[in-house]
């Protein structure tokens, strides 16, 4: 079985995000970037499946600027076999990403596609679902457990009410949730080996996909600053304020 894993280069989760002065986005100049944490979980799961003998090859795919190669190298150091970068300076939106991935999947024909459930930069949580629809494949989103069965996989999904188990026939798409696994640290020998693994760089044009953004961002703002607390005189005032100011009780 061949697995394709999507890895996105995002602002590191430790960085304190600052909004650009002109409100067009967040500051990214000289900020530390790393792999989207949900994608790390996807890579880890793929590597574990390979270590368990269920998978023959893992392809890590990233889409974006040239530096996304670093993110692919991280996946290769964790245990992916080869990488593909679809290089573009265009700001890619989820639909464009889904179309590009579909084009690669059409060529590579993996049995399983693993993606993070969302990226921590735009928190869209759309790519996996869009891609499954474009491929017309079964999807298991928000996975907290993946088990390979006879001819398919079983996915435990984290849903609002608890856990839902779905059985998917292959090929299938799974998006990973936080509790699926704990990603490994890359070992030093594997970091060195990763440099020698194959990494192909292609463009959206090579795949025949139009990546022109469909959505326009109007404005990006800092969340409102937390206001100082107040003391209330009695329960009546508390209830009144909760009902009429905070509007948290009817």
């Amino acid at each position: 079985m061949k697995i394709l894993v999507g890895v996105k280069r995002v602002v590191d989760y430790n960085v304190k995000i600052r909004v650009k002065a002109d409100n067009t986005g967040v500051e990214t100049a000289n900020v530390k970037f790393s792999m989207n944490p949900f994608d790390e979980i996807a890579v880890e799961e793929a590597v574990r499946l390979k270590e368990a003998g269920k998978v023959s090859e893992i392809i890590a795919v990233s889409l974006g600027i040239a530096q996304s190669q670093d993110t692919i190298r991280t996946a290769l150091a964790m245990g992916a076999d080869r990488g593909i970068l679809v290089q573009t300076d265009v700001d890619l939106q989820p639909l464009a990403v889904a179309k590009l991935l579909k084009a690669i999947i059409d060529k590579e024909a993996p049995s399983l596609v693993l993606l993070g459930k969302q990226a921590i930069d735009d928190d869209s949580n759309q790519t996996g679902q869009m891609l499954a629809a474009l491929l017309d494949w079964p999807q298991g989103t928000f996975a907290s457990k993946i088990t390979v069965t006879g001819d398919g996989i079983e996915v435990i999904r984290e849903v609002d009410g608890g856990l839902e188990t779905v059985a998917l026939t292959l090929p299938a798409l799974v998006t990973t949730d936080l509790r699926l696994n704990e990603p490994r640290y890359a070992s030093l020998p594997n970091i060195m080996k990763a440099k020698k693994k194959q990494l192909d760089v292609i463009t959206p044009a090579d795949l025949g996909v139009d990546v022109t953004p469909r959505l326009t961002t109007l404005k990006v703002e800092e969340p409102p600053k937390r206001k100082a607390g107040i003391k209330v005189a009695d329960v009546a005032e508390l209830v009144n304020r909760l009902r009429n100011e905070a509007k948290v009780i009817p």
């Binding site: 430790n14 100049a29 000289n30 900020v31 530390k32 790393s34 670093d70 190298r73 991280t74 150091a77 640290y185 890359a186 070992s187 030093l188 020998p189 970091i191 060195m192 990763a194 440099k195």
Partner: protein
């Protein structure tokens, strides 16, 4: 306690632009040492510092290492952390692939260890000592000893220790009494060793002690001491671990800091003598130990830098959050953090600029070690060796003194809560306190600088370095000339001090000994200024090409400016203490002290 964030930006800047990795990358065997590999390795080492080692720093301090029923337990989580480092192949980073290492340069190992020491100094002493022990076996051990011990020690499944000190033999190794009696292919070792870092613990399957002891035919003094490998568990010819050797951990010391690091009192030979194997030739143990000690001194000096970085991050984070009063000159409506008070700013800059200077000194020394050992060009090798020799006492002596001062300033920035353990700032100060003592006190580093690096060749080697420093300083112009001037004036003072020392050494050796530490500090400050001046030159080029989106290069220049006006002027005062002041040290009658 705040989280540790690896300062990758400054680490990479210093490696690439102040030290220059090209020369190291050009060495034979370093073909794989490319900028992107360096980036990947630093990122992942930083990731481990952040994710594994830093979270264990507090528990190491609070729970510490414990000796219970003859067994030493490290703090919860430490075994797993060590296993993660071993599994990741990190211990073998600088060692030859012949022994299972990665064959990467020493300078990269230094940058990795800086982050680990910052994240958890008490923990990182274990890989530090193990790497030192690998060096001793690698350089002086017989082929049989190497084949049996090196693969495990390089991997880190067996850790290493250095056993020098005895109750009566601290800085004076001539007083070592531990005995070695030949018996077949080995010796029987008996005696007591104290202050043995990671002398016993539960993180590895075996511990390889490197022990100084006297053979029966050894002459008295340091020339009669030999070096032995004494494993905690005996090892058979196949490398399999067998019975326990006759080595007992008598107790662990209760220390001011580095509680997580077990400091053992070891008793060798309580039951007939522990089995030990001679390393190299008889009676040359101290000489071998010294070769190892140079590595250890640089490694301890690195702790000075590392602990200062950690203390700085913590102080800066607190100063930004803590609001206290209205800073003078503040015109905003809401009072900002104390970072806007000029004196807090002064303290933070005092920390920052010296951290940058120490980092550049350490990485330069580490790269010089690579060049001194690996270069095919004899001139380059000799020049690099000169740098190693000059920078070692500074990197150890000055950087640990500064590390301690800065850890103390870190507490000061916090005010009263800094003195409270829960805040975490106090731990850095307590941990830092040992660094000026072990692997040779500051005074011993000063003796090394004065006797071996200045007086031995009558100031020639250091004079040439001062010329280089001056030439670089004079290349700074315009807005930066204040930095260049500060360094150049320091050079003038340093030259005069060297001349005075060379001149007065013959008259009374006590005078040059008394001048030692002031001279060492003076040279440390000056060389630190030189490193920052080099960073200014690079930063100017970047700024001129309009490349400074986040103000990094502007900040480098401002940091150097602060250093030149706040730190470099101390050179003048220290020059007085080192020269005219030296004679006063012994003037007062001892009874009047």
């Amino acid at each position: 306690m705040t989280d540790y964030i690896p300062p990758l930006r400054d680490i990479k800047f210093t490696l690439e632009h102040v030290v220059g990795l090209d020369a190291v990358a050009a060495l034979p065997g370093n073909e794989e040492f490319t900028a992107d590999l360096v980036d990947s390795i630093l990122e992942e080492a930083g990731h481990m510092a952040e994710g594994i080692l830093s979270p264990l720093n507090r528990v190491g301090d609070e729970v510490g290492a414990r000796l219970e029923n003859g067994v030493v337990h490290t703090a919860p989580g430490w075994r797993e952390a060590w296993a993660a480092l071993v599994d990741g192949g990190w211990n073998g980073l600088p060692f030859s692939t012949e022994w299972g290492g990665m064959g990467l340069p020493n300078v990269l190992n230094t940058a990795v260890h800086e982050m680990w020491q910052s994240a958890n100094m008490a923990f990182t002493l274990c890989p530090m000592l193990t790497q030192g022990a690998v060096n001793a076996v690698r350089l002086y051990g017989s082929d049989a000893l190497k084949a049996l011990y090196l693969p495990k020690m390089v991997a880190g499944t067996w850790t290493g220790t250095m056993n020098l000190t005895e109750p009566q033999a601290g800085s004076d190794l001539a007083a070592v009494r531990t005995k070695a009696v030949p018996e077949g292919d080995h010796c029987r070792i008996s005696g007591q060793k104290i202050f043995i870092t990671y002398g016993d613990h539960d993180m590895a399957e075996n511990i390889v002690h490197l022990v100084l002891a006297r053979l029966p035919d050894g002459p008295p003094g340091v020339k009669g001491i030999s070096l032995f490998v004494v494993p905690k568990f005996l090892v058979d010819a196949s490398g399999a671990i067998g019975a326990a050797n006759d080595v007992t951990c008598v107790s662990l010391e209760h220390k001011l800091g580095i509680h997580g690091s077990p400091t053992a009192i070891l008793s060798f030979g309580d039951h007939g003598g522990s089995v030990g194997y001679l390393v190299g030739e008889p009676h040359r143990g101290v000489e071998y130990m010294f070769a190892m000690m140079n590595h250890a001194r640089l490694a301890v000096g690195l702790q000075g830098l590392a602990i200062a970085e950690r203390a700085y991050q913590q102080a800066l984070s607190y100063a930004r959050e803590r609001v206290q009063g209205r800073p003078v000159g503040w015109t905003g409506d809401k009072n900002p953090g104390i970072v806007y008070h000029p004196d807090v700013r002064r303290m933070l800059l005092t920390m920052r600029c010296q951290i940058e200077a120490m980092r550049a000194i350490h990485y330069t020394a580490a790269a010089s070690v690579d060049l001194a050992h690996g270069s095919a060009d004899p001139v380059q090798r000799a020049n690099a060796q000169t740098m190693v020799e000059l920078l070692t006492p500074i990197a150890k002596g000055w950087c640990t003194e500064v590390g301690q001062t800065l850890a103390s300033l870190g507490v000061q920035v916090h005010g009263g809560v800094g003195y409270v353990e829960e805040t975490g700032a106090a731990q850095h100060l307590r941990d830092a306190r040992i660094t000026t003592i072990y692997e040779g006190t500051t005074a011993i580093q000063a003796n090394d600088l004065i006797n071996r690096k200045i007086l031995k060749d009558k100031g020639a080697m250091i004079g040439a370095f001062l010329d280089q420093i001056e030439a670089q300083a004079k290349s700074l112009t315009g807005d930066d000339s204040v930095i260049g001037l500060g360094v150049a004036e320091g050079v003038t003072k340093a030259r005069a001090t060297v001349a005075w020392l060379v001149n007065s050494a013959g008259q009374d050796p006590r005078i040059s000994a008394a001048a030692g530490v002031p001279t060492l500090e003076m040279m440390g400050i000056l060389v630190g200024g030189h490193m920052l001046a080099k960073a200014v030159t690079v930063s100017r080029v970047r700024l001129a090409s309009g490349e400074d989106p986040d103000g990094f290069y502007t900040a480098k220049i401002e940091s150097a400016r602060f250093y030149s006006l706040h730190i470099l002027p101390h050179v003048h005062a220290l020059a007085v203490a080192a020269t005219d002041g030296a004679a006063t040290v012994m003037r007062m009658d001892e009874a009047s002290l």
